[in-house]
Symmetry: D2
Subunit: 349 residues, 4 copies
């Protein structure tokens, strides 16, 4: 019942507020003897980092992870891995005007009502800054399950959507543009849309598709640790996520069994893969693919009416440094959480 802990056998426990001293975590259950590729970890963190393009928040954080334990002579020792990322570019003063004000569709109101006391600077614990911790842990998880490949990408921004199946995409192009969309033509449209929205001081939602390949048969634990259930839980832990579907997802609602069933080949693979690689909560060796829907960022650069602690109506000025669309930066976060889930199940076998 540790609410700041994720996972069963490979567990990540985290701490940290947006504008506190540091954020960090403890990864427990990592097998001993893993030669850690530290550069790969930092690289994932860089992918998530703010300030990478004009589209995203200009908060400049070096976001360098420091490992404090669990690694000796470059190899994991099987003991818990402590790590920390210092908060370098906190402009706490930017948030003083929010001290007593609840921003619409943010967690200010609920944190205040639940805890009676909150770190209001930049959302405190509810800030997506926390996800930097996940990316560190996820980068290690990726190294535990080296043979499994995880490719997430921006598939939708607003009404702009890749109109190709994932099999037609070249994942090596995902990092080639600011929105992390492997279809470069669509990427350009997305970039344009985000720029337009940003000029209006507004924000826009989107979707991420994630494809997991080379998954061994047998990952996932019925009845209450089904692979899809744990993936869903992981995705809904990410800020701003409103929907999760795998395989055919919600489209399955309109389909017939005779259309939807995946017939077997003699070797146990299936001719189609509408199921999305999972049956009865257990991976069947086919590709796992899913989509995650994100709402538009709640902080907008427009005036909004809101209330303060005492119920007074106030006008909230659009201020601070925020993304006009959170989706591109969420791509490595989706991958990290996916890696944590898969590594966890992989270690359980």
């Amino acid at each position: 019942m540790a609410h700041n802990t994720f996972g069963n056998r490979l567990t990540l426990t985290t701490f940290g507020e947006s504008h506190g001293e540091a954020i960090g975590g403890i990864l427990d259950g990592c097998p001993a003897g893993l030669v850690l590729d530290f550069k790969a970890v930092q690289q994932e963190l860089n992918r998530r980092k703010p300030g990478q393009s004009k589209l995203v928040t200009q908060r400049q954080e070096p976001d360098e992870v420091q490992f404090l334990s669990g690694i000796f002579e470059g190899k994991t020792t099987g003991t818990s891995i402590g790590f920390m990322i210092k908060n370098a570019n906190q402009k706490s003063k930017d948030y003083e005007h929010l001290k007593d004000v609840y921003r619409p569709s943010h967690a200010d109101f609920t944190y205040d009502k639940k805890y009676g006391h909150r770190d209001y600077r930049g959302g405190g614990r509810s800030s997506a800054r926390e996800t930097a911790n996940w990316v560190v842990a996820g980068a290690i998880a990726k190294q535990i399950i080296k043979d499994i490949t995880i490719n997430a990408f921006t598939s939708t921004v607003g009404n702009i959507t890749i109109d190709k199946p994932y099999q037609a995409l070249d994942f090596t192009k995902t990092e080639s543009n600011a929105v992390r969309c492997p279809d470069t033509t669509t990427a350009e449209k997305m970039i344009q849309l985000i720029s337009d929205v940003k000029k209006e001081g507004d924000t826009i939602g989107g979707k991420i598709t994630c494809v997991v390949q080379n998954v061994p048969i047998g990952l996932g634990e019925p009845i209450f640790n089904k692979l899809q259930a744990q993936l869903a839980k992981a995705m809904f832990s990410i800020n701003a996520v409103k929907g999760f579907e795998y395989g055919t997802g919600f489209c399955a609602a309109a389909m017939k069994g005779s259309e939807h069933n995946d017939l077997f080949n003699a070797d146990g693979t299936t001719k189609s893969n509408l199921s999305g690689g999972i049956q009865g909560g257990i991976s069947n060796g086919m590709d796992i693919y899913f989509r995650v829907g994100f709402k538009p960022v709640a902080t907008i650069m427009q005036d909004q009416e809101s209330i303060d602690k005492d119920g007074n109506i106030v006008t909230l000025k659009g201020k601070g440094r925020h993304d006009a669309c959170v989706v591109p930066r969420a791509v490595p976060i989706v991958e990290a959480m996916t890696a944590l889930v898969l590594a966890d199940f992989w270690l359980m076998r």
Copy 2:
């Protein structure tokens, strides 16, 4: 890491195969002194029971729950509540032809590969019969959180969808028809569609909407036990579920922040509720509403090609007793899992 256990403070641990002696469970963490309404529990179980209408499987199970512990003189004692439902109408012979065969889009293949050995009768542990246990526990959970109301209903079958917001529906009508759709005109169309599909020996998917009202502010535990994350996990534990979204869900992807933000009233309620009653993983007191997407039942009454254990191609005859659409019977299951999640968080406060 007990994979057959759900919940944190209120935990349900279950056992049972479709065609074994009995199924059952242990509900741990129920507060002492609750005067149990046993009739209400049985009623929920009856709602899930097969054989209720022509639309669903004709397997006749009395499905009577026996409580074995944790209750004394009609009141809970605070100790673990053991319960059992005997399997009465097992026609195991119906399944002997499936002993060595993997049914398409069922869990036969993955269970066999994972465990090397499985109870093939009626899907064994992977059967939705298990959900009867959840309904028992959920019915108790509902009594723990008496003030909160949970109303699930069939909102979509195939391409038939209720085209009204939930606020315009009369939930007292949900039980008035065989598909559990509170909009009777739509219900009739759904019934017709399922009948047609059934005649073809086929099955059809659908969606359930669930509305939770009168939720206190403060339920849900950041960072990794967010209310929406635990609801998602609960829903993806249900057989055949392919998608979950709450509030605006996937539609949020196409929206702007200025449209999506829920502005506050002076009393802390919000003018709109696109967020679906949760901010930062914590309930804000507004209605929680979500949709769950179901694939069509994999067992169809048509011949299908499949494989056996040795990789031989075999023809699978459509046999057995199955639902043409699982959605109406899943309505009480969705409610039960929702109740378990909410009661769990309610007890954590």
Copy 3:
């Protein structure tokens, strides 16, 4: 946080009151493909059963375990194993006089204060009847770790103690006498003592020694799941246990490091084994041995002063069926809990 669940990877969740319908449990995490020796399970249960000799309670329970799931064609399937033991010989009326009375050094008072409502018949949930569930699960655990041998025995009753090291004992004689003491001369003295105490309507305490042999190196999980810590927790779950020590135990307090250190042989075994087979929370391959101290049974056949719910002083008559010394019947319970702990760690490796 399921308080009726023991274990991490192999988990036992239990239910049941002394005089309820039945007691039972769910064993989750048992590997698939184990050919269960049901007779061996029942045999362990028979060892714990009341009414085996004149020394113990004459409550006659058939204590037959019924397995309800998780086993198919004699083999475990990897799904949760549900089991049940019916309560056959409840004489609830024997307990009506205790309805409002708190027995000294029993759990009546604390249960009543904690839960406000309790099943007073035979101690309800606090009864040692619960341990029958543990013996069932432990008997399965023993079959998971077949190569490890676990031998518990009565080493002390009152002031009668085996004065030999365990290495000088023949464990095959443990079951040859009513007190489960492998040293038959000492056994006779113990039997005499218990008989004498019983005649006085009194009860007596004792100790159990448990020796675990053929343990692989590497069981136990630092920092907070150390092998000795989990063993201690297991033993203190047993009713009437007041002390636990392993290796030299409390005697170590009077020793010097130069005496206490176990020097290595070239093969990694140690010349002495004062440590008791565990270093840093991890088994080192040497014998694990520990002692468990039990208080005398609180129910005595003498008049005692006590209080009722309202604080009135009452005289409690000695009535009911109880053991004059609980230790002999606790031997299989100590073994069962030890087996659960070791199997749990064995499966974690």
Copy 4:
């Protein structure tokens, strides 16, 4: 199954090696709004600190705790509390001669066999340095349960023992001497004994008694989270602990029920308290008292025969900085773990 996590509702997750960069932890579940007394936390840490007297290791660590999150404006926010203690005085070179050598009765051998790779400097993760983390968390726990008082003290060193009941002791004197024994005459003898042992280059074991007063009725959760079971688990997590007993402990083995039963007063308190404040796993409001037995420190300043990784016999020179008796420094550790257990149960009510 996070092995570096302790507790259920209030959980401590830790990391850190003796000679790594830092040690630290995350305390999750601390209620919001607690005004933290930072000085009291540091004071507890100072009590555990090496170098306090001539009797203990001269390793000089500032041991200053840094809080990184979960506290805002001096008050806890209800989010996870991250903290860190830098390792300042690591003399890693002192340990290079131990790189391939297994010290007798240390965890070197078992860690190496389990993980295949270990941080050999100062015992790495198995070092008692870890307990500094527990003291930090325990100091916060003490502030959560302010009304409960926890007094641990050295009751035995070698064959020197306080021969008075705890009721006859003045706990305010515990800190008045180097061995933390509230009986000053006995303390002097203990100091003399430790000095003598130290001169011989040897070490000596001992016992700590802990008394918990003003405990509310109802703490502890049957069946598998009994108060005594969790206390036992906590104590056996501490390095060098070989025994735990509460109330009469092992002495109960020689007692009769008629002697051992605690008769009630009209108000529900008991005339005697041989039970040690717990019945059926639940506190009954009387004092909880227990004893913890410690083995002598394994590192001695004498030559010892040992083996290296390859099974060669080597001579181990006594080197490094170590305590001749660990018991005085373990007093605040016992208190810290006790506080964590009690606060955990207190928050569960």
